[in-house]
Symmetry: C2
Subunit: 442 residues, 2 copies
């Protein structure tokens, strides 16, 4: 690995990677070679442009010079040579004097994208786009973030579940549902693991988690929506209210950002110019109605007929929180029953409000959580009120006929977290392969 | 948590869980209460069947007695009372003298399944089936196994990827492909992350891993097949041959089984009567042709027209390995090119064999791995030879036009590993919610 070279003593080494840059000068050739761990400068001091009958190594030197001159960007090569520490070399303070060079695979000379190509064009050539160190870092950060979350769950004795993505009916609303030809019948792609996470509560699993795909046939083209996305989900039993869910949620976010800052903080600073901030606990909590009053008092009236917030309102309340509390996160709580799914539990004494929240990070919603209604009679009534067909909900409602403890959970969009953490303009930049209404390739 | 009671001192406690058993005797009532961590006995010594005007607590005692008498199996309750250590109590050596009892949710009195119900009937009521301690343990084991695998990858600096499950074309053969209505067109569900794992190699990601769903429109009803299953995948660059893939694979299996044995070995012994064996490295490796000779010499001729093994042959070679080397695992290597996908690399000097393997565990295949062909001209020729349409492979072949290092990897069926580890008769027993040609519910 290239990152390990600096710690090695001078001497013979063998490295592999792809060609990032070639500088072919008259008397010396330089190659910048990159692997997944970093980059290093290779030097060919024995440049020979024409056969030299006086030199016994003429053929070898000539061939090596030609090979390097013809190297195309992105070609994969393996090189043997002498490692030399040299303080004047900016790239890691080492360079390698090339002895042999083996072109494993030559890349096509014309690279179809450049750093300033449009995002859509870059996505056409995503595998080349992902070679950029910033992009490589995005997925290292994501790996570290997820591993830290899973460690919290493991430490709390949660069970990991893999819920099915093929379903007999809708898991959320019937809008935005993908239909699959399933033998003689039809199946639907899971829009969320909601029902199956709750099934685990009926099964007495207690705390559970899942990181997996979710599918929405959403025709919109915003920077925050995809037809397939990675959903980070948790659900836990024996809670007193949505407050217990928020506490778990906070703990996970803090653990994830702490791990990211520790492992990648310096690189993030270097490549993105961003200082990762680990938030203080507890995160601020503001009831939605109050949040709307605050942004109204600051001059913005949310232009919606229903009781919901809008993206601009979320940005403004986040700015308010940042100014007042210096915090990047805020839980907006107690959403109106009218704009929440039937399975959100409502407040005792005020049916119009739910025990639910959205988590806002740097001005954008990343997550929705709630205590769920576990009493079958109340749940059925709420489903009917929302105009749901109880027949379609049959298997789900059955869970509650055999006893389910009080429980709650959340679902969080992984790409949104990454986008907001790294201040990217779109989830497309932080999704391995983005899927949208007009994008299924590569 | 109930499991923590034994370590506590006598005194007031509060526990929640579901009712596993009620023994309603004339002068004393017993309830076995279970949560996700274990079970405990509750005792009501103050049984009162009729109002007693002499007793000032008559109403309370009467109500409590009636509540307990009417408790149905599976109901979720919260109890306060006095914890008492008592060596004569078999269940953990403690019991709780009930003070108050709160029925959080009453279950329907008739439980639709029993322990000896058919697997199909039990799957109809999977959430009740999963309440059995054996089933709960299965998913705790799976959680521990996966976490141990991920720790190996993290320690080796692998990147976790979430590859898309919606694709524009087939990822393996066109048979067994699910079609999705995708806005004005069609999409297909990923049969494996194969192409996208290899894309990560083209992107210079080096080692990568993924645990996610894969989909096969397989109409068969065997004990080892499902239409949706969890695939455990890894891929890594800069390998010399499939031997490097097998080494990673071994390391993961050993880490997974070690963690499972440490954390759950005792429980597995108790509930399944199985001693988890951590295999020695290296696992035996036998070229497929040789394996076929061995089983033939032992009296079994594989009844196949092609060069492949069959399930009976796999059982027999595994039995041979177990007898000869005392090993539960065996790598069958060097499968014929004729029965392997076009992207498997072939041997130098013998085009008829691939640098591939299957991993057999207790007699059944759990995984396929290989070095991949990374040279575009060879890869194209192999695809044409297999009758593939290069136009459909366009995006995949593009990866190789810009340089890909030598690489390989494997895909492993998670449920198969669990089934074989716990000697279960079907993957249905170890899948959270099984999906088959006639099963989409719950």
């Amino acid at each position: 690995m290239i990152k390990d070279l600096a710690a090695r003593e001078d001497g013979p080494v063998r490295v592999s990677g792809w060609v990032e840059k070639v500088r072919d000068q008259r008397y010396v050739q330089f190659v910048v070679l990159r692997d997944e761990s970093g980059a290093v400068q290779l030097v060919n001091g024995g440049v020979l442009r024409e056969a030299d009958p006086e030199n016994p190594r003429s053929d070898i030197l000539l061939a090596r010079t030609t090979t390097i001159a013809e190297l195309s960007h992105g070609s994969f090569i393996t090189v043997t040579g002498e490692l030399q520490h040299n303080e004047r070399v900016k790239l890691g303070g080492v360079e390698i004097q090339i002895d042999t060079i083996d072109v494993v695979t030559q890349a096509l000379p014309e690279t179809p994208i450049a750093k300033d190509s449009s995002i859509d064009h870059r996505l056409d050539w995503r595998f080349l786009d992902l070679r950029r160190p910033e992009q490589n870092l995005v997925f290292r950060i994501q790996t570290t973030f997820l591993h830290a979350l899973r460690q919290v769950w493991i430490d709390r004795d949660f069970i990991e579940v893999q819920t099915p993505k093929l379903m007999a009916s809708a898991s959320e609303s019937r809008a935005e549902l993908f239909e699959v030809d399933y033998f003689e019948g039809k199946a639907y792609l899971a829009q969320s693991p909601q029902f199956f996470k709750q099934m685990a509560q009926a099964a007495g699993f207690g705390g559970i988690f899942e990181v997996g795909p979710a599918f929405r046939a959403d025709p919109s083209f915003t920077s925050r929506h995809a037809t397939e996305f990675t959903s980070v989900d948790a659900e836990l039993s024996w809670i007193d209210s949505h407050e217990d869910v928020m506490e778990l949620h906070e703990e996970l976010i803090v653990a994830g950002l702490t791990a990211v800052k520790e492992k990648h903080g310096e690189q993030i600073q270097k490549l993105f110019g961003i200082e990762i901030e680990v938030p203080e606990r507890p995160f601020p909590r503001i009831p939605l109605a109050e949040a709307k009053e605050i942004v109204k008092a600051e001059g913005y009236e949310v232009p919606r007929a229903d009781d919901d917030m809008d993206p601009e309102g979320e940005r403004r309340i986040a700015a308010h929180v940042k100014k007042k509390y210096g915090h990047d996160f805020v839980f907006l709580t107690d959403y109106a029953s009218s704009i929440r799914p039937f399975y959100h539990m409502r407040h005792e004494g005020d049916e119009s409000l739910t025990k639910s929240y959205d988590l806002i990070y740097n001005g954008t919603e990343i997550s929705t959580g709630a205590q769920r209604e576990h009493r079958i009679d109340v749940l059925e009534a709420q489903a009917r009120e929302k105009g749901m067909d109880p027949a379609e909900l049959g298997f789900y409602l059955d869970f509650f006929r055999y006893g389910v403890p009080p429980h709650g959970g959340f679902g969080m969009g992984l790409a949104r977290v990454l986008m907001l953490m790294l201040q990217q303009s779109s989830i497309r930049e932080v999704t391995y392969l983005f899927r949208g209404p007009t994008r299924l390739l590569p």
